[in-house]
C-alpha cells in the first residue's frame, strides 16, 4: 500500500471524492442525475487507476471478468422494467456482498500473517458479505415470483439463533487459530451463506424492501471492512458511507411501516382477523359517476398504490389528471412512504409516466389537505389508507402511519375485487358512507373515466 505510486493513490482518492459528491447530488431531484453521473466517473477513474498498480498479475483474466460481469449487468439493467426495479437492486447488491466475501476468502486462502484487528475485520466482512449475498438472492427470488411462498421452518427463530451463534463461533475460531486451516475456512463460509438463506426465507414479500435496504447497508459495511484489510481508503470510505446511509434508510423505512426491524426479521406478519367488527356495506359506483364527481370537484387527491403499477395504469392516470387540470380541477398525488415495493418506488413509477415531481406529495405534506379535498381517488392501494390503523388497537396494522383519505368529502376506490390488501386486514374505509367502490382493472377503468370526462367537455 505504502509503496503504491502516487497516480494510483490519486485515482482512488478522486474516486472516493466523486462518490461523496455524487451521493450528495442525489439528495435533490434537480441535481440527482448529475450526481450519479459524477459517481460513475469516480468508479471509472478508480478502476482505471487500479490497472496501473505495479506488478498486477492475471490481467487477461481480470479483463475477462470485468467484461463478463459488467456487460451482463449492464444489459439486464437496461432491460428491466421499472416495476421490477426492487429485485434488480437486490441482486446487484447481493453480488457486491459476494465479491466482498470472496475477497476475504482469497485473503484467508493465502494465509498471510495479519494483525488481530485485520483478521477480525476480514472475518466480519466475510460473514456480513456472505449473508448479504445469499439473503439478497432470496429477496430477488421472492420479488421476482420465483419463490412464491414464505418458507418457515419449525422453530425458525431458534434455528436462526443457532446458525448465527455457529457462524460467530467459527469466526472467532478463524481469528484465534489464524492462519486458519482450509476446512475451517470452508465450514465458516458454508455456515455464513446458509445463515443468509435461512434468515431471509421466512420474510414476507411486503417486508422485503426493508430487508433489501438492510442488506445494502450490510454490503457497504463488508466492503468497508475488506477495504481495511486491503489497506485501501477508497473502499473504506465508499463502504462505510453506504453502510451508514443504508442503516439510516433502513430505519426510516421500518418506521414508515410501523414495523420495528426486529419484528420484520423475527416475526413475519400474520394475517389477523379484522379486529373490530366493521359495520356498513361496500357501495358501488360506475365510471360515469366517478368521472362526474371529479370533473365538478375543485380539489382531487389521487392515492396510487402498487396495484396501479401492476395494471400499468400510470400513463392513463396521468392523462386523466391532465384533463381534470384543464377543466380547472386541482389535482395532487399523495404517496405513502411504502407505496410500491420500495420507499420512493411509486415516485419512480409516476415519473416514468411523466408526472412532474412537484405534483407528488408525501404523507406528512398532504395529510392535512384531505379535509379540503372533494374527492380522494384511491387506485390499487389498500392498507395505506385503512383508518383502522388509527383507531383499531386489535388490528395488526394498528399504529402504521396512513394517508387520511377517509377525511375527504368523497372517496372513490378503483379495485379489482373485494379482497384485502397485503396485510390481509379488512379495510374499514371501504365500508364508510362517503366511500364508493369502482370495481375493475385500473387501466381500463381510468380509460373509461377519461372517455366520460372528454364527453363532459
Amino acid at each position: 500500500m505504502m509503496s503504491l505510486p502516487l497516480y494510483v493513490q490519486g485515482a482512488w482518492f478522486l474516486g472516493a471524492l466523486l462518490f461523496i459528491f455524487g451521493l450528495k447530488g442525489m439528495s435533490s431531484p434537480a441535481s440527482a442525475r448529475k450526481g450519479i453521473v459524477l459517481a460513475g466517473y469516480g468508479m471509472l477513474i478508480a478502476i482505471a487507476g487500479t490497472f496501473l498498480v505495479p506488478g498486477l498479475k492475471n490481467l487477461a483474466l481480470m479483463v475477462a471478468a470485468l467484461g463478463l460481469g459488467g456487460a451482463a449487468a449492464w444489459i439486464s439493467g437496461k432491460k428491466v422494467k421499472m416495476t421490477d426495479m426492487p429485485q434488480m437492486v437486490a441482486i446487484y447488491n447481493g453480488m457486491g456482498g459476494g465479491a466482498a466475501a470472496a475477497i476475504a476468502a482469497i485473503e484467508f486462502a493465502k494465509g498471510d500473517a495479519h494483525s488481530t484487528v485485520t483478521t477480525i475485520l476480514a472475518v466480519l466482512g466475510a460473514l456480513i458479505g456472505a449473508v448479504s449475498f445469499t439473503g439478497s438472492c432470496v429477496a430477488w427470488a421472492k420479488l421476482q415470483g420465483v419463490l412464491k411462498k414464505a418458507i418457515r421452518l419449525p422453530a425458525q427463530n431458534a434455528v436462526n439463533v443457532i446458525l448465527a451463534l455457529n457462524a460467530i463461533g467459527l469466526g472467532i475460531a478463524m481469528v484465534a487459530f489464524a492462519p486458519a486451516k482450509p476446512e475451517l475456512i470452508l465450514f465458516f463460509f458454508a455456515i455464513s451463506l446458509i445463515l443468509g438463506l435461512i434468515v431471509t426465507l421466512p420474510i414476507g414479500g411486503a417486508d422485503m424492501p426493508v430487508v433489501i435496504s438492510l442488506f445494502n447497508a450490510f454490503t457497504g459495511l463488508a466492503v468497508g471492512f475488506e477495504g481495511y484489510v486491503l489497506g485501501n481508503p477508497a473502499l473504506i470510505i465508499a463502504g462505510i458511507v453506504v453502510g451508514a446511509a443504508g442503516t439510516l434508510l433502513t430505519q426510516l423505512m421500518a418506521k414508515a411501516m410501523n414495523r420495528p426491524l426486529s419484528n420484520i426479521l423475527f416475526t413475519p406478519m400474520v394475517a389477523s382477523g379484522p379486529g373490530e367488527a366493521i359495520s356498513g356495506s361496500m357501495k358501488e359506483v360506475g365510471p360515469i359517476d366517478a368521472a362526474a364527481m371529479m370533473r365538478y370537484a375543485s380539489k382531487v387527491i389521487i392515492v396510487p398504490g402498487y396495484g396501479m403499477a401492476v395494471a400499468h395504469a400510470q400513463h392513463k392516470v396521468w392523462e386523466m389528471t391532465s384533463i381534470l387540470e384543464e377543466a380547472g380541477v386541482e389535482v395532487k398525488f399523495a404517496i405513502h412512504p411504502v407505496a410500491g415495493r420500495m420507499p420512493g418506488h411509486m415516485n419512480v413509477l409516476l415519473a416514468e409516466a411523466g408526472v412532474p415531481y412537484d405534483k407528488i406529495f408525501d404523507l406528512e405534506e398532504i395529510n392535512g389537505e384531505f379535509g379540503q379535498a372533494d374527492v380522494a381517488l384511491i387506485i390499487g392501494a389498500n392498507d395505506v389508507v385503512n383508518p383502522s390503523a388509527r383507531t383499531d388497537k386489535a388490528s395488526s396494522i394498528y399504529g402504521m402511519p396512513i394517508l387520511n383519505a377517509d377525511q375527504a368529502q368523497n372517496v372513490i376506490v378503483i379495485k379489482r375485487g373485494k379482497g384485502t390488501g397485503y396485510s390481509g386486514v379488512e379495510n374499514a374505509l371501504f365500508y364508510t358512507d362517503n366511500c364508493r367502490m369502482l370495481y375493475g382493472d385500473a387501466q381500463p377503468m381510468a380509460g373509461e373515466i377519461i372517455q366520460h370526462l372528454k364527453a363532459m367537455g
Binding site: 459517481a39 481480470m62 459488467g70 437492486v89 451508514a244 419512480v348
Partner: protein, 94 residues
Amino acid sequence: MDGLLALYIFMLAAFTGYEIIAKVPVILHTPLMSGSNFVHGVVVVGAMLMLGSADTVLQQAIGFFAVALGAANAAGGYVVTERMLAMFKKKEGA
C-alpha cells in the same frame, strides 16, 4: 494501514453517510438506495487487487468470481440508477 488512522476514516465516513441521507426527500429513496448500491460496487477495485496477486488456481478462480460480481454490482447499479433519475422532471416535462 495504521489502525488508528483507519478508525478515524471509519468514523468520518459513517458521519458523512448519515448526513447525506438525512436530508434526502422520500421521493428519492429508491434511486438513492440504488445509487448507494452502485457506490459499494467499488468493491470491484478490491477484487481486482486480489485477483492481481492470486498465485494458485483456486485463488484465481475465486478472484475471477469476485471481479465479475463486483463489476456486475457497479455496472448494474449505475444503469438502473441513471435510468430512474433520468425520469425525474419538473413541470412541462410530460
